[in-house]
Amino acid sequence: MKRAHQQHRHQPFDSILAALSVDLLIQILERVDDPGDRKAWRLVCRDFLRAEALHRRGLRVLRLEALPGLLRRYAACLDLLDLSACPGLGDHALATALFAGAGSWLLKSVSLSRASGVGWRGLAALAAACPRLESVDLSHCVGVGDREAAALAAAEGLRMLRLDKCLRVTDVGLAKLAVGCPALENLSIKWCLEISDIGIELLAKKCRDLRVLDISYLKITNSSVKSISSLGKLEVLSMVGCSNIDDEGLQFLDNGSNSLRSIDVSRCDNVTASGLTSVIEGHMCLQKLNVGDCFPELAPLFLSKLNGLKDSLTVLILDGFQVSASSLKIIGVNCKNLSEIGLSKCKWVTDEGISELAAGCVNLMSIDLTCCRMLTDKALMAIGEHNKKLVCLRLESCSLITDKGLEYIGTGCPKLEEIDLTDCPITDTAMKYLSRCWELMILKLGLCDKISSEGLVHIASNCQNLCELDLYRCIEVTDDGLAAIATGCSKLQKLNLCYCIQITDRGMKHLSCLEDLRDLELRGLHHVTSLGVTSIAIGCRRLTELDLKRCNLVDNVGLCALAQYTGNLRQINISYCPVSSMGLCKLLGTLKCLQDVKLVHLTHVPVERLELALRAYGGQLKKLKLFIGLRDLLSPWLIQMLHARRCRIRWVDKPLVFSP
């Protein structure tokens, strides 16, 4: 009613709407992509705000207290509501919020992932309020059980549901959902360890439209696979780590329905080549095959069967196998359309094999060669020569590759977006070559102790899209390097500077202009003081994760700055920092979004003050790390209260040692 009234209200004469109608405004808005720009748009005037409200389809709520206001504004148009960042959201709050838009909800998709405060009442309210609900994500809500599943089952139109790690869901809950939501197409019940064959059997009988099913890590047996094989529309089946399933079970999948596009049987210990062969025979259109860590050796039979998938297969993950050069050659010859191959931790992967593979599968976009320690520059040369479309390359711990090899990559793979060079003996020269890949978004250089600021300058000069940079223990990196990164890569979201011991407050000052920064690790930076942290806090307002462990100079001032400016902070580690009770109380008392706090060895905080600070915390703590010696010193009442509020306390049994 209120909204309608506002819309019909007489517009002031000087309104922007006199010149541009709402339709036009929305059309303009559609061309504004950057979230920052959209934020600026919202702040222009009320009419812009209203236009934005009419245009918006999705909403992710970062702070619980804003939820009612946001929903009042957006209730009518939203398709998607993401509440995953609100662990404090309870049944009452959710139901009240839904009540705000009662009767007008068009919501199709709701994410409550990790929002562990929502129980069956909230879900029942959701199901009742949103008749068009199609997708719900409850993953990692460890408290969700049968009752919640039953409440959700009232949403008849549900097509997609994620229940990953909903530990209390049993066959009964699954049966409720299977009966209540017969239209389910996409279901994940990963880690729902209580579910057994009986539940899966009923699911397969009731939800005939299932297309995507994830049953990873369940304790199910072959009979489940038999019931699953009756699903005629199934396209994607993930059964990672189902050790009770063996070849006999996989043979059930060879039933001629031929709908399966993707199957993941990695870590199924009892599956062997013969079982996979039968799957391949039954589904000649298989596109994705993940058989990582199943059985040690690639049988020739299996390889020859891959020939049958010649045209369709695009993804092949063979992690942990013994893959000889000849095997790779066969793959290269047979699977011309392969776009992704995983050879992580494979033994016997040689330059020769990679060369054959690269020459055969020219369309490869992603190559995972983690821990293939025998590879040298020759392999990279072959990749650079043949795989022009390469997007992702992982070379962690390939300790024989050099700068020369990366030259081939830099020249040959212009579309590279992600490269992992952790623990590779490369130097700044390699960075120079890599900087030619201007679309680079993820760069991991951990433990590359020869990389210095010079290399970062190369990267910063050309890779403007970089959003994740890992410089873990790159001890040569200095403040100048950070200055270059901060100016060149303004979209950086994730930065790891742990143990880059040369970095000082000046570097922090440079970083403070990275507005998008969300995840920052500053572990063990001895030269960074509260001043540096303050500048970060003021500049990087979107920070959600911060690691200050062993920053010996960061004290209360830094914490107060964080408390004041980084309202979205969700994880913080201030173990070993010389903070006192005042800073801690300020931090815990002000920040409402904190979920994960590590407070090991805060030597300047007396026990009673620590207890006070923990009691004062008003948000929803999910994880807390404390020194084990405090277990008996803290009052049992506090510990009980924390447990009651679903907070898990991890007690660390490490003696207090000051690192050099």
């Binding site: 139901a95 009742a128 049993t170």
Partner: protein, 511 residues
Amino acid sequence: MDFKLRRPLEASSNASSSMMSEISRNLKPGLPFIPCDSTNICYGARQEQSFSEFPPPQVTQCHGLYAREQKTETKNQLEPSSAVNDLVMDWNPRLMLSNLSFLEQKIHQVQDIVRSIISQEGRANELAAQQQLVTADLTYIIIQLISTAGTLLPNIKNALLSATPPVAQTGVVANLPVNASQKHHEVLSVELAKASEYDELIKDLNSGGEGDELIKCLNNSVAEVSESIPIEDHDIKDYDDGMDGENLPPGSYEVLQLEKEEILAPHTHFCLICGKGFKRDANLRMHMRGHGDEYKTAAALAKPSKEASSEPAIIRRYSCPFVGCKRNKEHKKFQPLKTILCVKNHYKRSHCDKSYTCSRCKTKKFSVIADLKTHEKHCGRDKWICSCGTTFSRKDKLFGHVALFQGHTPAIPMDDAKVSGMSDHVQVGETTNGMVANMGYNFSGNASDDAQSLDIKDVDDGQGYFSPMNFDACNFGGLDEFPRSAYDVSESPFSFLSTGTCSFIPRNGEN
């Protein structure tokens, strides 16, 4: 012989139990008379023997179809029949005579009926019934004739006859038509190997469509009467007393039959010195040590060795003392019991009162205490309940049921409830549509706590709580085929909202 029927007799004279059993054995032959008119005789006989407390209803019940003007006549029959039964030997002319005279009466009876049909023509209903009666009687007479003639066959073995229970013998004489025909059929085929021609005849009679129907209709008409015959019942049940599947040829084993008192005695081993009873011989031997050093020797304490290992041990099997029971050696399909323990359990389960009641469910009763204990282990727990109210002891059975019926879902079991202090009823009471349909009614709208809100309800009266109006007013598309049983009690998800929440769905529906 029905145990229940016999009890009053025993109650009347506990002291002379041996004499009682004598009498009751004497009475056994009379029992098959119960279903038909001649029952009266039997009871009459008892009354003569001053067992006046016998309940009369049976007598009136049996007044049925044949008993019109027979009372006086049939009384005569008693003496010969009981006398006859005492000397159950081979062919007995007196018995034959009594049978024949009985048949004569029967024929007279039929004549009467036919006459009455002639005199009162017109009323179709009665006519049909009377016709049926006549055909039934005639069939019966034929069967009786054949069986009586059958006893005259030269090849009957005395031994066989003596082994044949008096039941069978008298069954020949005067049983219900149905029973008689069946019994006879079997008796003849089993025991009288050469009586096949009779067999054929009876088969024809039985299989002939008309005869069949007739027997059926007779069966119906006297259904209430036959209820008082426990004999056939016992044949059907009690397959679980052990020994099933063992196909020892008859005669290859020795059959022992313990007396009822022996079976029901709490102790079977008695100390010869002090008279104390024990369940096990080993316990008795332990006890004996207290009576002197001579019982303390290794030989006295040792388990009595099984002697005669050289010759093949005689296989011993047991018979139930309850006449008519399938486990009784006189039964035509006798299945022996393997051990004394089997006998005890069988006798208690089948022929004794179920005196142990389950303290949890208050409904299940058992006569063997071990059975009660087994039941109590599972009672109330592991109950798998469907939303329709059907309960299952096994989860896979419930899921099979759920898979079969559209819209049924399993109810959430006990242990999954996070709410403590909830009663069974609320637990159980949870249905898919109930959750929606009853919202806002269960709770007045301000309860915020799980436990509280769920406890508000008076669980004893779930029905009263949900007036039919609830269902009609808030029926959101479905599943009202579920009976509003006790399981309909459901929790409202909206306990924290006002009752107005109910309007969510209808309103959306309009949009």
